[in-house]
């Protein structure tokens, strides 16, 4: 089996002003065709960031991501858009359907983006509505659908372009347990019938249970579930090297650190004078 997703030494750090927020630290991950893989890990461990980078929604700082042997980090914005359209289907925690489209139109829209005619696209939409078992709700707008129904539409929309990979970011987090279970069941069935690869982030135990493979993330690193030796904690300076920033930014960050250190040194003196 060949891996269709391959990440190597992936690093990502967010900067809010001059404050670094490390998100991913050296991710090596291989996902094979047809897997139903689940990314587990507590909130803030980097699951969404990893999915977004694999889905070409955002960039990494360093490392490489190959999806179908294409290096997506080096693509232009427009190439990435086309890449997402052709190869990736997204399912989000908050469903994220287009408000002004009916369920059917939400699904048909992505087919039209692929250049199919309106009629053909609506036919395809009907097919996928049947697949996710809500064919009778096709004419409803998102705000007339329950959460579970909306998520089914989202799954249908993700599948309608016939992508090889579905990336689902906490798809059951907003659903009650039973609805969540039905949804997992649906996705599992689609995975088995269509062979579409699923990479799902979740901390829902039901999702983890359904996984063909479980990947655990902690502090931006993949941890082996059965390993008893904890990984050494990563320092912010190694996770978020200032060297990667442009010169102006670097100066700003260094100055900011200098001043905040000075302030810290000064404050005890001030206090002693007051007391």
């Amino acid at each position: 089996m060949t891996s269709i997703i391959k990440t190597r030494d992936l690093h990502k750090c967010y900067w809010v002003g001059t404050m670094p927020h490390p998100a991913l630290h050296g991710i090596d991950l291989d996902i094979e065709q047809g897997e139903f893989a689940v990314l587990a890990g507590r909130s803030g461990s980097g699951k969404s960031t990893l999915l977004n980078i694999i889905g070409a929604l955002e960039s990494a700082d360093s490392g490489s991501v190959e999806v179908f042997d294409q290096n997506i980090l080096q693509m232009t914005q427009d190439r990435r858009t086309r890449f997402r359209l052709d190869h990736i289907g997204f399912v989000f925690q908050a469903y994220n359907l287009i408000r002004v489209f009916s369920a059917r139109e939400n699904i048909a829209y992505v087919c039209q983006l692929q250049g199919k005619s309106k009629e053909e696209s609506l036919e395809i939409a009907n097919h996928w509505l049947r697949e996710v078992e809500i064919e009778h709700l096709g004419y409803r707008k998102p705000d007339q659908l329950s959460g579970g129904q909306q998520q089914r539409v989202a799954i249908a929309r993700a599948l309608a372009t016939e992508p090889q990979i579905i990336l689902a970011d906490e798809p059951t987090a907003n659903l009650d347990t039973q609805t969540g279970r039905n949804l997992i069941h649906l996705m599992q069935g689609l995975n088995q019938r269509l062979g579409t690869t699923f990479l799902i982030s979740s901390h829902d135990p039901d999702v983890k249970e359904a996984a063909s493979r479980l990947i655990k993330l902690a502090d931006g690193q993949i941890v082996d579930e059965w390993s008893t030796i904890p990984k050494p904690p990563i320092s912010i300076s190694s996770a978020c090297p200032v060297q990667n920033k442009p010169l102006g930014e670097r100066v700003r960050i260094k100055l900011n650190r200098m001043f905040s250190r000075r302030r810290r040194k000064q404050s005890p003196k001030d206090n002693s004078r007051h007391s």
């Binding site: 969404s48 977004n52 889905g55 929604l57 955002e58 914005q77 427009d78 858009t81 086309r82 997402r84 359209l85 052709d86 997204f90 989000f92 994220n96 359907l97 287009i98 408000r99 002004v100 489209f101 829209y109 992505v110 039209q112 983006l113 692929q114 250049g115 199919k116 005619s117 309106k118 696209s121 929309r157 372009t161």
Partner: protein
């Protein structure tokens, strides 16, 4: 780069429409702001146009006409020695040029005297047969009558002058003048009419008699100093050019009214300048209110735009969405504004707008109290295009902002 997506434009249109309809109050408010702005511009331009035409028309028809022809240098220094050497040729040229409304005058400085006092005046000899073709002075005679063919040594004075001299209709007035050799001449006239126009320029400083009488008095039979022509405003420039070409062998000056009295033209230009300022203000309001609406709706939909991009919509297509919305608002606002403006102009163009409350009775400055707004097509076109372009420009910034969104961030924080 992308395969053709024939149906996406259609979708863009549908999404834009549904978004605008989904926020109907906001959409209508913006469309309304544009419409009211444009309508008021159309109305104000037309009102201005009506006011100016009315004023300029009154001004020209009061006494000076649209164009005057004199001997070279006469207007600067009116002397009888500068009479028009070949008036027959001028009259003939005017006729062949299709200018029918012209009249001849003899004009000279002089004095009018009563038992009590004297006053310096412009002595004007008018042809009673043709004067009414070029001016409406006749209508401004409030007391007595205008000149009639066959009148001899009859006189018309302005109300102020008549008052100063303390003379009444039928009284004797002595007129003193100089003939063309500079010899003083004096004659007795009978006052037959008094001008009560309310305009300072007409009610004093003039003494009007018949052309024949003045010619006899200053011993210049058949001679004139002035041709007065009446033409519609739009034909004046062309006529001046044409007459200059055709009459070039005589030393004549062919002067349109605005060369003789530039202040009037400058006033109109200044007045229009204020309107340009107003256009600027309205354009600003249009852009600001539409920018506000579109930015608001863009910010509200940040997440949705992120989703659009995530599922394969290009940045250009997202931008096109907002530009389409701007276009809808702009076109709708422009259409309804034009309609509203035209209806207003049409109705007030029939009823007129009564300014008598605003205008004092003293200095009316040639303005009729009833103004009829008049549409000027050139300006209408410019105003409409300006608003339309402004409303499109207002869509560019939100569209650009939306196209620059990072999909992951937009979805996470939108």
């Amino acid at each position: 780069m992308h395969a053709s997506r024939p149906s996406i434009n259609q979708i863009t249109l549908a999404v834009a429409l549904r978004n605008l309809l989904g926020h109907l109050p906001r959409t209508l408010l913006t469309v309304g702001a544009i419409a009211v702005g444009l309508a008021s511009l159309i109305f104000l331009w037309s009102f201005n146009e009506g006011l100016h035409r009315n004023m300029l028309g009154n001004f020209q028809q009061a006494i000076i006409g649209s164009i005057q022809i004199h001997h070279q240098g006469y207007f600067q220094q009116p002397e009888l020695s500068d009479y028009i050497r070949n008036p027959e040729k001028v009259a003939e040229t005017l006729e062949t040029s299709g200018i029918e409304n012209h009249s001849q005058r003899l004009e000279s400085f002089g004095l009018v005297a009563s038992d009590e006092t004297t006053e310096g005046v412009m002595l004007i000899g008018m042809d009673p047969n043709t004067e009414t073709r070029v001016t409406e002075l006749e209508k401004r005679i409030g007391i007595g009558r205008f000149l009639q063919p066959g009148d001899s040594y009859t006189l018309i004075l302005g109300a102020t002058t008549a008052n100063n001299l303390n003379v009444r209709l039928g009284d004797e007035v002595i007129v003193v003048g100089y003939d063309r050799y500079g010899v003083m001449v004096a004659e007795s006239f009978t006052l037959i009419g008094i001008i009560t126009s309310g305009e300072m320029g007409l009610d004093r400083g003039m003494a009007i008699t018949s052309l024949e009488t003045l010619q006899e008095m200053v011993d210049m039979p058949g001679q004139v100093t002035t041709f007065v022509i009446n033409l519609p405003e739009k034909n004046i420039d062309k006529a001046v050019k044409q007459l200059n070409e055709q009459l070039h062998e005589q030393p004549l000056e062919i002067m349109p009214w605005y060369v003789m009295f530039p202040v009037m033209k400058e006033w109109v230009t200044l007045h229009n300048g204020f309107l340009y300022l107003f256009i600027g203000v309205v354009l600003f309001i249009v852009i600001a209110s539409e920018l506000n609406t579109l930015l608001l709706s863009m910010l509200e939909r940040t997440r949705e735009f992120g989703v659009f991009m995530a599922i394969g919509t290009t940045r250009q297509e997202v931008a096109a969405l907002l530009i389409t919305e701007a276009l809808f608002i702009g076109i709708l606002g422009t259409l309804s504004g034009t309609l509203l403006g035209l209806i207003t102009v049409f109705i007030t163009g029939i009823t007129g707008i009564d300014l008598s409350i605003l205008l004092g009775s003293t200095s009316r400055f040639y303005v009729d109290p009833l103004v009829y707004p008049q549409l000027e097509l050139g300006r209408l076109g410019i105003t409409i295009s300006a608003i339309l372009i402004a409303s499109m420009v207002a869509g560019l910034y939100p569209a650009w902002r939306a196209s620059q969104l990072q999909p992951a961030e937009a979805i996470r924080y939108g």
